[in-house]
Amino acid sequence: MTPQPRKMISLAGLLEERWAVLALVTALIIVAFAMFLPGFFTVENWVALIRSVSVLGILGVGAAIVIIAGGIDICVVAIMAATAGWFLQMTQDGASVALAFSLCFVLALAIGLVNGVLVSFFEMPALLVTIGTAMFLSGLTKLVLVKQSVVYVPEELVDFRFIGQGYMGGIPVPVIAFVCFAVIGHIFLRKTRYGHFIYARGDNPETARIIGLPTRPLVVGVFVISALVALCAGIITASASGGMNINISHGTLIFDVFLVAVIGGVSLSGGQGGILGVAIGALLIGVLLNGMTLMNLNNIYQDLFKATALLVAIVWDSLLHPVDPETAREGDL
């Protein structure tokens, strides 16, 4: 056999790749901010910037895996609030860290399993299932798990603060955690059998089933992964801010998570995108928000900027992958 021609690396080819376009845009914005914004291109500011998006990035990795598999998980922020809040409440009430963490782990696992089983075995739409479990979970949290809507890290837990506030080799621990999640997520999706299965399931569930992939267990697994990622993100948030406000499950954080994933090239129709894009997407959002903070812009403008970025990303995506009306209409001969 003749040797296969290697994939050509050309500018035009790179422009087809979402992450490359995104990296270019991000780089341009960074250069612009560095030139015109005093105080932007400093080490302290960059540490703060990356740290501010690390939790968002971690949640983005989990969301990307679910979306690539063809689902969506609205309930991650609720899991984050519930598990972290319950963890702090239990430690305040005198439970050991190990016991509290194990119980939170079981809770996250259970929610992931319920989501996955309802979506895969009972064939319900993922959007509605996870909205339902999210509302259930935030209700359960207020009713049973925590006593007040803001739970603080108990004084005795000195070591716990290290997770969110410590440094390793001069780098904040949340940033290291984000990098770890991104690398593991990337290897899982691109180098393992199950990662390939996830792409196949998201691309075409029917084909995936016919060629013998275990599509149902796969979907359950994906929702469990998402729930466990949310648990980790919750613990890091609680440690970094010294407490957990369980009302974040009513906030707009979940939209930011999808924003990061979609800007990063993860198509909501499934089967497309990767962790690299999510990481760059998180960076872009971080740079934009940081720059706007330095410019003393109001929060309202931040929302407008995020919304614009999202809409541009979606329009760009549909320009790159247009739906052909002829093929869509003419099914058979």
């Binding site: 393992t192 059998r193 299965f197 196949a200 075409n204 089933r209 013998g212 992939l213 089967g271």
Partner: protein, 507 residues
Amino acid sequence: MNPFSPQDANNASPVLQVSGGGKLYGDSWAIRAVDVSLHVGQCLGLAGENGAGKSTLSKAIAGAIRLTEGEITYLGEKQVFKAPIDALRCGIAIVYQETSLVSSMTVAQNVHLGTEKLFHTRRSSTIQAVQLLQSIGFHVDPSALVSTLSAAQKQMVEIARALHWNARVLIFDEPTATLTPEEKQHLFALFGQLKQRGVALVFISHALEELLDQCETISVLRDGELVLCEPATSLTREEIVKHMVGREMSLSGSRTWPSHASAGEKTVSVENIYMGQAVKGMSFSLYAGQVTVMAGLVGAGRTEVAKILSGSFRRRFLHGGRIYLDGKPIRYRTPAQAIRDGIVYVTEDRRANGFFETMSIEENIFIGWEAIQRWTKFFSSKSQSRRIAEHWMANVDIRAAGLSSLVKHLSGGNQQKVVFARAILQKPKVVIFDEPTKGVDVGAAKDIHRVIRELAENGVAVLVISSSLPEVLEVADRILVTRLGRVVEEMDPRDATPERIMFAATY
């Protein structure tokens, strides 16, 4: 002659005329150089094998697709319909076999669908619907939900809707396939009424007697070309069948018979399978080392039984029949279980569920190998994936720029070869190919037939489902003819002729 003398004068100028009509799908013509004309108060019958272009032609007339070449003249003017609604406004309506009614709405609402005024009351639309329905002698409660109606009643509502649009041309795409004999009589009575109103009808059916009874003119399509257009009175069933299948017989005659065409072990035994309306008492066996071909018309339950065998569909739980693989009874809940036991199904609809369109050739082939690994196998090796993909690309002769080309950019034949490669590398004992050369060019079809024969020679039990008679005669060691959900006849391909198969398959 036309029995309706008042319209005789109009015969010279047809209501609708297609001249030189051609439609290109990808790089193959679905229909080409077709000329038909419809006359006031007359019924044109369209006959032809599956894929002969009957549906393409009728969709083109109804504006659902646009012709690549040729033109449509309607009421003396050249027309280009951009969408079905344009044709409908002009008075051309189509009644599909699978009805296109909104089942959660009432009969009256469906009749008025798309023509409602901005403000309208349910009462006024019901009254109008009553008048319309009575004028065509169709007695159904206009306030009944469509979901409660029978298949024939739904068809009547579709017809009523078409008449509500003042249809002057009405196309029926296999309307009788799902009807009972009484319902058919009612439908044919309605045909007579419509003709008297001066509507031009197009009637597509596999039931040739119905065509002969109902139509003034019968046109036969074969491979997209018009091969016959004669008054019905001068035709017989035999002549239509001959024109439907009448290819050069040399294609099937070129076959040389291997000496070992005798059957091996009985691998699969399917006994009396029932599922819904599609499969009614299907029984057959498959033998190792033999290519069994299932011939028949679309809707005879062939794909359904294949999907039951391969775990995609489930048969009726009670009294659903039995399936044995190597003597052991089987009942699968997922295709994964069937593939583990060595039963692999290759789909008839590549685009819908044959390959992954975001993935390259290499990924599409390799995922079949990944699917059958043990669950403990976690990491995939890039070099192994490349090796397997290269091996199969050469083995089934996939022609593409490289392994990293996207499958969706390949030609139909090469796409099919990718799907084949992925199925065969799963090392099946039993493999089912559903319409293996649908939308595949002649050269690639030859390669595909060679791969099928090689599989059988290696001791695999092969089931091919095919609606193309030359293909049936080309690859079969044994022919099963299906009709209405069951196997009705078994033939030795040495005695089988296209006419015999067509006779058994039509009803």
